[in-house]
């Protein structure tokens, strides 16, 4: 299994290579290159721009620039932010834990709701519970995450107040209360609204997907065999059906990882959550290209890493999968 993981790591290199080449040339292909924002600024003279170009190595041929950029990146040097004049690697390192907290907690909440809902729907298809769940999943799949975030702020920050203190029920942004020590409780309090907004859509997709994949599996012969040998219904579901039905769900989640980070970008922007998405959005508005390239590359590495983990997890669930 370790050798399989290693091989997958090696296989992921061409993927990251294609991405890096694409991004690099997109950024450099723009007229004026990465300095286009500076070039439009009337306070920056032509000579200053030429000097900046020399300093940043932008006067070299593109392939040379690419190799240099890649070499720096492999050594963990993502360049310096144009706006903040700080190493990008350092800025991203500060933000990664915050994004992972947000995405991780939302993912856990999603699984805790989607798994039972999907199982219950499949056990009693076309029951009132199934109809309710189906309607709710259609709503959940159709609500844009950015609108849900705004709506939650409107209801729970502007609308409903805490009857004891008269203060808003939940904070509208940030990770911690200013001027207070960071406690777990305070963090959780700040997590409620962003996590709700972020998990709603995923919960809808995953529970719907699990329901249909469970219903497919329940027609299989081995389920009939399990019932025929007199197995308790619960065991039929949890030991025989669920183990098989969950495999396609793992594949879906692995393929869907980019959208988890995309959702986080919107939520971080709306709730002023100091994560990588927020960093990226700020950088995109200021055309801070080293930050942009850095965040996208790190995100891609995270996604590829999670993909490999999902594949390894797949092997744990399905003994037929051989890592040879």
């Amino acid at each position: 299994m370790a050798s399989y993981g290693l091989r997958r790591l090696i296989q992921s290199i061409p993927i990251l290579f294609i991405l890096s080449v694409m991004l690099f040339f997109i950024v450099r292909a723009a007229p004026g290159g990465p300095l286009s924002a500076a070039a439009r600024n009337p306070n920056v003279s032509k000579e200053q721009i030429e000097l900046l170009k020399k300093q940043l190595g932008l006067d070299q041929p593109l392939p040379v620039q690419y190799v240099r950029w890649m070499g720096d990146m492999l050594r963990g040097d993502l360049g310096d932010s144009i706006k903040f004049r700080r190493p990008v690697a350092e800025m991203i390192a500060e933000r990664i834990p915050n994004t992972l907290i947000l995405v991780g907690v939302s993912f856990l909440v999603t699984l805790l709701i989607a798994l039972p809902v999907g199982i219950l729907s499949a056990r009693k298809p076309y029951s009132w519970f199934d109809y309710l769940a189906t309607t709710l999943t259609f709503i959940g799949q159709s609500v844009p995450v950015y609108w849900l975030g705004l709506a939650l702020i409107l209801v729970f920050y502007v609308g409903i107040k805490n009857p004891l203190t008269g203060l808003p029920l939940f904070p509208a942004g940030g990770m911690r209360t200013v001027g207070q020590d960071t406690t777990l409780l305070d963090l959780l309090w700040h997590l409620v609204l962003p996590v709700t907004a972020l998990s709603a859509g995923w919960t809808a997709w995953y529970s719907r997907f699990l329901r249909s994949s469970l219903l497919d599996v329940l027609h299989e012969d081995y389920i009939r065999t399990a019932r025929a040998k007199g197995l308790v219904e619960n065991l039929v579901y949890y030991r025989h059906a669920l183990r098989n039905a969950i495999l396609p769900l793992v594949t879906l989640i692995a393929l869907d990882l980019p959208s988890l980070f995309a959702g986080a970008l919107f939520i971080e922007t709306i709730f002023a959550w100091p994560g990588m998405g927020r960093l990226f959005w700020d950088a995109a508005r200021g055309r801070d290209y080293p930050v942009l390239l850095g965040v996208v590359m790190i995100d891609a590495v995270l996604i590829v890493g999670c993909n490999i983990l999902a594949d390894l997890f797949y092997g744990l669930l399905d003994p037929r999968v051989k890592y040879d």
Binding site: S12, I26, Q141, S142, A151
Partner: protein, 291 residues
Amino acid sequence: MIERDLAAVILRRFFKHRMAGLAIITLLLLAALSFGASFSAYSPTGQEPANNFKPPSAEHWFGTDELGRDIFTRILYGGRISLLVGLVSTLLSIGLGVTVGALSGYYGGWLDNLLMRITDAFLTFPTVFVLILLSSFLRELPLPWLKNSVVVVIVIIAALSWMWPARLVRSLFITLRERDFISATRALGGSDARIILVHILPNCIGPILVSATLQMASAIITESGLSYLGFGVQPPTPTWGAILSTAQVHVFRSPWLALFPGLMIFITVMTINYIGDGLRDAFDPYVIHPK
């Protein structure tokens, strides 16, 4: 004759799905309203600063925004953009995806390997991040057709969504190409192009249509999201995302500004999802509708 009967059967099965029937009527109504937006008494960009932040009333059904523009009219015009972006980017992405998937699945071998490597690479891209990068830098290129931000949005959404139909069509082709009726066509001397286009592709129509609805729903959400973040269709063109993004600034003062554009995105996407559900049932011979 048989083909026409089959189409009639599928259409009948589609309308048996009540929500799907209702959804297609709602969507047609929305489209008609959007394309009739010019009949509105207000202009989508006409400003009346004295008349700003008006709550919904008989005059301004959805109220007015910070510049006194009629929100209802702006939302109708925004509907044009959303539906246009959704439709065209879906056509592009399905076209590209079906081509890649068909070639990959039919020929297999090194071509399949190469195309699937590229597909996998695109699937691991952090989509929205790359979309934002593409959108802000493509607009800088000195190409006249990229000056229009709607075109930019359509192209980049299609460029980052063709992988799903490609994988789907590839898997359909891999099963279908081994079937006896394909071997028979090949034995009769049918060319590859004929086998792909006339014999295999029509058998994939159902799943492709279903995946097209999913693509369109997600394209509309993505377009509005990009415009909301400021990297989609550029002002003063009214779009649902852009209206929502100004709404966010004034959300405490006039919450209805945020309500209507979001509601429109939600309704549109939900109708498309229901149509997809109806299509899935209509093309699936195993689904039996309760009377």
